[in-house]
């Protein structure tokens, strides 16, 4: 894989060591050590994307220290999964990154399939690619909307984004029964087959989406304020990105060519023709643009998949719903979810419950470099840098 990494070899640069000590007790005004002001942004703050807290120390408007605090949404996901059956964890994975339940399902299904050797049939693989790429569209659209909201564009981009998201969510609903908590994939396939006419609906949704992307880009990408607000802000150097194991669009925005769809070629991604956009600066604007360009590539993949999808069964006949007991062993399945590398590590001891269940959440790991990106920027920048990292607290806290 190392030949795929265009950046210098990892290991030479490490993230700045954190100094998380409690600051000297502030005065009445919250002023710390003279001119510094300590502000706890969150957990109830309009722009922390859920119950996330940034303890920032400000010198004027400049951030001199930032301590991410999370765990407010901790729901014991991993421990619950170790105490329940393999299948019963599937709906819980929906709730990790609640914007992209399909890819979460896929990653979990993939690792169980690695554990048991189940092989999804052709049609199921296509459905998985289609739903995963639709999920990527949903996620990136939302992210762009939220990012603009953080920049203060009073809801308009967000509303446009949500209108398009709605169309895809409708597709999900008619396929899986639920708009967000899809709970669709099963070990060795998918739960139900596509309803009649779904593919046509998907195609027409895609046509609308291309138009939307075009207008959205016209509307935003050239906007001077957006450009001025986001260029040169929150720069993440590729060396640091690699050594902090950042993945996903954030890593690619720093110019590192690493996309699991190309690297692992899981599922049937080797059959599709798509490109991986790379940024050169690693700033907020690059992260924004990489996502916009990825959406265009996703549309390309979807076109091919919707054209080529074959008929046939959707579940491996060996898969069973009741009494599912994989043989003892371990497996790690990972996919390129919209936020980065999402992996599930499972150890089975032959019982109906996994012995060990561990999630590699891209949101959490991408969040670790937040302070490095925010130091020296202003509060307003810290907010959009957080927005450009693209976190969902359900996944960060699990």
């Amino acid at each position: 894989m190392s030949e795929l990494l265009e950046a210098p070899a990892a290991g030479s640069v490490t993230a700045a060591p954190r100094n998380y000590e409690i600051l000297p007790k502030p005065t009445d005004d919250g002023e710390v050590g003279g001119d510094l002001l300590e502000v706890a942004m969150g957990p109830h703050h309009p722009s922390t994307h859920g119950v996330f807290r940034m303890d920032v120390v400000l010198d004027g408007e400049q951030v001199v220290k930032l301590k991410p605090v999370f765990g407010y949404l901790h729901r014991n996901h991993e421990k619950i999964a170790e105490n329940t059956t393999y299948l019963a964890s599937m709906p819980y994975t929906d709730r990790l990154d609640y914007l992209c339940s399909m890819t979460n399902n896929w990653a979990y299904a993939l690792s169980v399939e690695r554990l048991t050797g189940l092989q999804p049939p052709e049609r199921a693989e296509y459905i998985r690619v289609i739903t995963a790429e639709l999920t990527r569209l949903v996620n990136h659209t939302c992210l762009v909307g939220f990012l603009l909201q953080d920049m203060g564009a009073l809801g308009t981009p967000l509303m446009y984004a949500f209108r398009e998201r709605e169309i895809i969510l409708d597709l999900f609903e008619s396929l899986t029964g639920s708009r967000m908590m899809c709970n669709y994939m099963r070990f060795g396939g998918c739960r139900v087959d596509l309803p009649v006419g779904w593919l046509d609906q998907a195609r027409s949704a895609l046509d609308g989406y291309e138009e939307f992307l075009e207008t959205f880009q016209k509307f935003l990408t050239e906007n001077e304020i957006l450009v001025a607000r986001s260029q040169g802000i929150g720069v993440l150097p590729p060396e640091l990105a690699i050594s902090a194991s950042i993945t996903g669009p954030m890593l690619r925005a720093s110019g590192v060519n690493y996309d699991l769809r190309k690297v692992d070629k899981y599922g049937i991604y080797d059959r599709f023709d798509f490109r991986v956009p790379l940024g050169d600066h690693g700033d907020v604007y690059d992260r924004y643009m990489i996502r916009v360009l990825e959406m265009q590539e996703s549309v390309k993949i979807l076109r091919q998949a919707l054209r080529d999808i074959p008929g046939g069964p959707i579940v491996d006949p060996k898969a069973k719903i009741r009494g599912f007991r994989p043989k003892a062993g371990e497996a790690y399945g990972r996919i390129e979810c919209p936020k980065g590398e999402l992996g599930f590590y499972l150890i089975s001891d032959g019982s109906p419950n996994p012995y060990r269940y561990r999630v590699r959440p891209p949101s959490l790991i991408n969040l670790t470099v937040l302070e490095d990106m925010c130091l020296g920027q202003t509060v307003a920048d810290a907010v959009i840098i957080l927005g450009s990292v693209d976190i969902v607290l359900g996944e960060v806290d699990r």
């Binding site: 329940t84 299948l87 019963a88 709730r95 008619s174 709970n183 016209k218 050239e222 001077e224 009741r322």
Partner: protein, 217 residues
Amino acid sequence: MLGEGIIKGMAETARNFFGSYHDADRMTTVQFPEDRIPAKENARNFPFLVFDGEDPAKGLRCVACQICEKECPPKCIYIVKDTVKKPDYIGKLQFQPRVFDIDVSVCMSCQICVEVCPFEAIKMDTDYEFGTADRFGGLLLNKQRLAKPNTYYRKIHATEAAEVDERLAAEKAKAEAKAKADAEAKARAAATAAAAKATPTPVVSPTAPAIAPAPAK
């Protein structure tokens, strides 16, 4: 970078502003209590129990096997088995749940109970209006509130229900054929027995449920 981008953006918003007045497609808002989006065929919300015929007490398909209770991820189902067996829709003697409660404040609408149920007894409802002033009692659905007729199931999930009905009908036909064959065999045996003047054989008991009920906690 001298303001053209902003002007382009403003043109775009103006287009949307005026478009919203003449282009009905842009306005995706559905004004909820008056207008509703018809539920999708696959839509799911909370589970309900299917019964055949008119009488929920009689026709309930659930046999209190408690698989769903065990598989339910958030453990929102609570079942107490009845002590006496009643005949099910085929006429087979089965246990029925004495208590079947679903706490919809805990339920996460995942449909796992539906998937694991071997008897097509629990299905997903599309009703979502569960608002109540009583957050404990009002959201704890009991057997009476959960039981809904098969006709309702056919109404909300037509395709799926048709498949299920077909499968059940086939099963029923098979069971009836088997019962007939059994009866014939019995009659034949009785005849031979009578002929042989042997001792009477015991009554054939109904087949046990496919899966043993879960042990008590």
